[in-house]
């Protein structure tokens, strides 16, 4: 049964290797620093994570203010310069329709970021509520939820995604909804498997015996204790969404012209990779910078927030 995966993995992660060899002091001194400061210090010690944050911030700034540095808009066509390599006038060159690649890249990055961040946030929220509720209520609710999750995981969700977005997409906001609706399952499954161990925690039982209502227990006692897992999944969710969006757009099922995302730019550039490589290279570079920076941030956060678990969010990728 597939359930074994997570139980085995998470049980392996629970015992704290540091505690086993009786290393006191650490736990007594740490809180004096303040939990937040401690996490920050651990995060900052991870150089790659800091690099990731810097890159991500630069990308966000680029997408927000990059358009100020060019006189072209992404939709403007410069018929005097079709398929031109990078030049002083067109920093990233132009495409077959005469669109400025720099302006398109700024706009495409903006679209891709907006889609990735909102899908990632929505996915984590939906997955946290569904996953932890399934774990908390157990019994039939849990069985039914897991059946749905497993079913959706086994059927290539990409296939359904393509099917649905073919009809509805074009509008990037619809794409957000579609990607969320078909993207929450694997995160929910990870959250469910961690929550099943939280469900057994004494403080949850204690809350039940105090007469606390179920929604309140889930919101106050289970979800906050998933903290690091949720944050890490948030960053990895950005990566996963960017990859899904590019894949969909590449095949023509994502954002539709005249709108532009990094995925559509990749698709347009792929055909002319030998004759006009700049059409492909700039969006590809931006996508990779975006995903790599988020992965570094995610790994850094995981190490900083949850030094004992190596597995944790690994199952939630893709």
């Amino acid at each position: 049964m597939a359930t074994d995966v997570t139980t085995d993995a998470s049980s392996g992660a629970t015992p704290d290797p540091a505690a086993r060899v009786t290393a006191p002091g650490g736990k007594k001194n740490a809180p004096d620093l303040g939990l937040g400061r401690l996490y920050l210090r651990r995060f900052l010690r991870n150089r790659l994570a800091v690099v990731g944050v810097v890159i991500f911030v630069l990308l966000v700034l680029f997408s927000a203010f990059g358009s100020l540095f060019t006189s072209y808009a992404y939709s403007d066509a410069d018929f005097a310069a079709l398929t031109q390599p990078p030049s002083a006038a067109h920093w990233f060159g132009t495409n077959q329709g005469g669109n400025d690649v720099y302006a398109s890249a700024v706009h495409g990055l903006q679209r891709s970021l907006a889609i990735a961040v909102s899908v990632s946030v929505l996915t984590v929220v939906v997955a946290a509520v569904i996953g932890s509720s399934a774990a908390y209520f157990g019994g039939r609710v849990e069985k039914a939820t897991l059946a749905v999750i497993h079913f959706l995981l086994v059927v290539p969700s990409f296939l359904i995604l393509a099917l649905v977005s073919h009809r509805l997409a074009g509008d990037w906001r619809v794409l957000i909804v579609v990607l969320t609706v078909f993207g929450w399952m694997s995160t929910a499954r990870v959250i469910w498997s961690v929550s099943t161990s939280l469900r057994e925690r004494d403080y949850v039982t204690a809350a039940e015996f105090m007469g606390i209502s179920a929604p309140r227990i889930i919101l106050r006692h289970i979800i906050p204790n998933l903290g690091s897992l949720l944050i890490v999944n948030l960053t990895l969710g950005v990566v996963a969404t960017v990859l899904s969006e590019t894949a969909l757009s590449f095949l023509g099922f994502g954002v539709q012209t005249p709108d532009v995302s990094l995925g559509t730019m990749l698709a347009d550039g792929a055909g002319t990779i030998t004759s006009a490589p700049w059409l492909f290279a700039f969006p590809a570079g931006l996508v990779v910078l975006l995903t790599v920076s988020m992965t570094f941030v995610g790994d850094g956060l995981r190490d900083a927030l949850d030094p004992t678990s190596v597995t944790g969010a690994a199952g939630g990728r893709r």
Partner: protein, 693 residues
């Protein structure tokens, strides 16, 4: 199996030690700086002798064991010498060390549930262990493995060798671990808390197996434990560890007769025991052990010591020989040794003694009649089909009055916790009746009424760290039950401060998170939370078992004071009879879902009737070597069977020592007829269920 002798044969004086540790120091890196877990430990271990290392959690005892085995994580920094047969193990590579591990040193670990590779049969594990060091054919190794399983007392060793670890109980797995440790007849055995995870009657068996294993191999044994009772009966020499050092090292009799380091003395005074004749008040040690990062100079115990002087805070005293008292690391050891100084100082008990006597005649707070609880046993992953019924609780009855404490005692699987949870659930039980404060909870159907009843019944849980949500500060933790009953903000604030004062905590802790509290403080928060809604009945689920001995006593005294002041009724579930004795007015002993004996605490302890109660009492080691050796022990055979197919007659029949001695007519009744509670003449309330007594 009744054992009264101890292998206390004095070792010949010219024997060379099999293991010598010299100035061992271990440092772990941590966020807050290097943790000096072990700060200079010396000892010699002679063949055939047992050295007990006693200490509380964080004292460095397990790190010492791991250092001897060469199994510390690579991040640990190691200095000093570990001499095994004259060869220094520190600095040896993994390859050289692995040639010695298993062949010269064997190790028994704390948690047998996780210590065995789940995907190999125990026969395979054992024969692999043999073949690492010996050139054996697979068949020969398997044969030896079967012999070893037989030696450590696994029934049907040939058949069971093919079984996987998860098919064994905890006690049986620990026997396998011991068999693996002694497979190649090592000269040194290291046992790290070998019985902590086990039930008391199983603990007694495992300690016997360990002794047998030692006799069989002639090895020197390092026995590491937090339980003073375990070392009293099983060690020849004892070293007490505190803050990474030995603070006292002496012959077992010497140490218990006159503990000379104040820490040892205070520790012994804080341990509840089963067999002391009178109700001895427990004296807690104030404070907590120090953190081992940037340890200030001076004696690490000085801040908790009643007889500390200024000199104690200046320099850390070295371990030095005190004539007739072994080695002690205390400046005032001479005064304590010759009896002119009481190491406890004049600190009397800070609260009154535990038991309040049998005068509790308040209203009945809880009445349980014929309570039944079963669980379905299912099989199959896709379509679950019911293959049996687990009779967790079977016709259990008792009542509890205000101001009274009832202790439910039994081993894991006896149904004591299930009983407690059934009471707390406040739902109509599967069978029988539960009455809380005069209300039959089977008749309560409105949610509002259930909420009202909830206020009357609250719980304190076993592990104080686990029972407190780590993401909420103390104030929020205590406010939660009050919010649940709809108190307003202002009254919550004043009530929280009232509660903190009630359990003896400073108001300043209200902003802290549980991780920033000490174990004792956490349990006090847990108690305060349970008291928030002014309950009449407090359910205590193993309230002390997660606490260190030095902290336990303080919580026991707090519980006693609260009961007196607030007129509470306690329903205590515990496996440790010694602890229960200190807090209970009455005791009910449970076995396989049944109450087999019930009565006043003193009556049960002075005159146990049921053979199981007797065995349970005698299985608990006493922290006094003389009495521990002299008393008669009833070591039960086997383990508690599964409650899926309880015997038709007496549930204890399989393990009962009386059954074996009884005549045919009684045996027949034991097998076929459930014994009814019988009253003990002259002792009101004392009942037992046995045909053979």
């Amino acid at each position: 199996m009744t054992l009264t002798t101890l292998a206390a044969t004095p070792a010949p004086t010219d024997a060379t030690p099999v293991l010598s540790v010299r100035d061992l120091r271990i440092t772990f890196p941590s966020e807050a700086g290097p943790v000096e877990a072990v700060r200079g430990v010396d000892f010699d271990l002679l063949p055939g002798r047992t050295l007990g290392i006693v200490g509380e959690s964080g004292s460095g005892k397990s790190a010492t064991a791991m250092a001897v085995m060469g199994l510390l994580p690579p991040s640990a920094e190691l200095r000093g010498q570990v001499l095994l047969g004259g060869r220094d193990l520190i600095g040896l590579g993994d390859k050289e060390l692995s040639a010695l591990r298993g062949s010269s040193i064997g190790m028994v670990f704390q948690d047998p549930l996780s210590a065995l590779t789940p995907i190999f049969s125990v026969g395979r594990l054992l024969s692999d262990a043999l073949r690492v060091h010996q050139d054996l054919t697979k068949r020969a190794a398997w044969e030896q493995a079967v012999e070893l399983l037989d030696l450590v007392g696994i029934p049907d060793p040939r058949g069971r060798a093919k079984s996987f670890p998860h098919e064994f109980s905890g006690g049986m797995r620990q026997r396998v671990v011991i068999a693996m440790a002694i497979a190649n007849k090592p000269s040194v055995l290291v046992a790290d808390e070998p019985t902590t995870a086990l039930d008391v009657t199983v603990q007694a068996q495992i300690l016997d197996v360990l002794r047998l294993a030692q006799q069989e191999t002639g090895a020197g044994l390092v026995l590491i434990t937090h339980d003073l009772g375990v070392v009293a009966g099983h060690a020849d020499d004892i070293a007490v560890m505190y803050a990474g050092r030995f603070v006292e090292r002496a012959d077992v009799d010497e140490l218990f007769r006159r503990p000379t380091m104040p820490y040892t003395a205070r520790l012994l005074a804080a341990v509840p025991t089963v067999d002391s004749g009178v109700h001895r008040p427990l004296v807690p040690i104030g404070g907590e052990p120090p953190a081992l990062v940037d340890l200030p100079g001076g004696c690490p115990f000085a801040s908790r010591c009643a007889v500390a002087q200024d000199a104690c805070r200046a320099d850390e005293p070295a371990l030095r020989e005190i004539t007739g008292h072994g080695h002690v690391a205390c400046l005032r050891a001479d005064e304590i040794a010759d009896g002119t100084l009481d190491p406890a100082g004049d600190t009397g008990p800070d609260d009154g003694p535990g038991g309040s006597g049998p005068e509790a005649t308040g209203e009945v707070v809880l009445r349980v009649e014929d309570l039944v609880k079963t669980f379905p046993v299912t099989k199959g992953a896709l379509l679950k089909r019911r293959v049996g019924t687990l009779h967790a609780v079977n016709r259990v009855s008792f009542e509890l009055r205000a101001g009274e404490t009832l202790g439910l005692v039994g081993e894991s699987g006896s149904g004591k916790t299930t009983t407690l949870l059934e009471v707390l659930r406040l739902k109509r039980p599967e069978g029988g009746r539960i009455e809380v404060a005069g209300t039959d909870i089977g008749t309560v159907d409105s949610a509002a009424r259930v909420r009202e009843l909830r206020q009357d019944v609250q719980i304190v849980m076993q592990d104080p760290l686990g029972a407190l949500n780590p993401r909420l500060p103390v104030f929020q933790l205590l406010a939660e039950p009050l919010q649940a009953i709809g108190r307003d903000r202002e009254s919550i604030r004043s009530r929280v401060h009232e509660l903190l004062a009630l359990v003896g905590l400073d108001a300043s802790v209200s902003g802290r998170f549980p991780a920033a509290l000490s174990g004792g403080q956490r349990q006090r928060v847990g108690i305060a939370r349970a008291l928030a809604t002014e309950p009449k009945l407090l359910a205590l689920d193993e309230p002390l078992s997660a606490l260190d001995v030095s902290v336990q006593a303080g919580v026991i005294n707090l519980l006693a004071r609260l009961k007196r002041e607030l007129g509470l009724a306690y329903l205590v579930v515990a496996h440790d009879l010694a602890v229960v004795r200190y807090i209970s007015d009455r005791i009910a002993v449970m076995y396989l879902g049944h109450i087999v004996e019930t009565g006043d605490t003193e009556s049960i302890f002075s005159d146990p009737r049921h053979p199981y109660t007797r065995a349970l009492l005698s299985a608990i080691p006493v922290p006094d070597p003389q009495r521990e050796r002299a008393r008669e022990r009833v070591v039960l055979q086997g383990e508690q069977p599964s409650a899926t197919q309880p015997p038709a007659g007496c549930v204890f029949v399989d393990r009962c020592p009386l059954y074996r001695l009884a005549d045919e007519e009684v045996r027949g009744r034991c097998r076929t007829e459930r014994p009814e509670p019988t009253a003990v003449a002259g002792r009101p309330g004392h009942q037992y269920a046995c045909h053979a007594v």
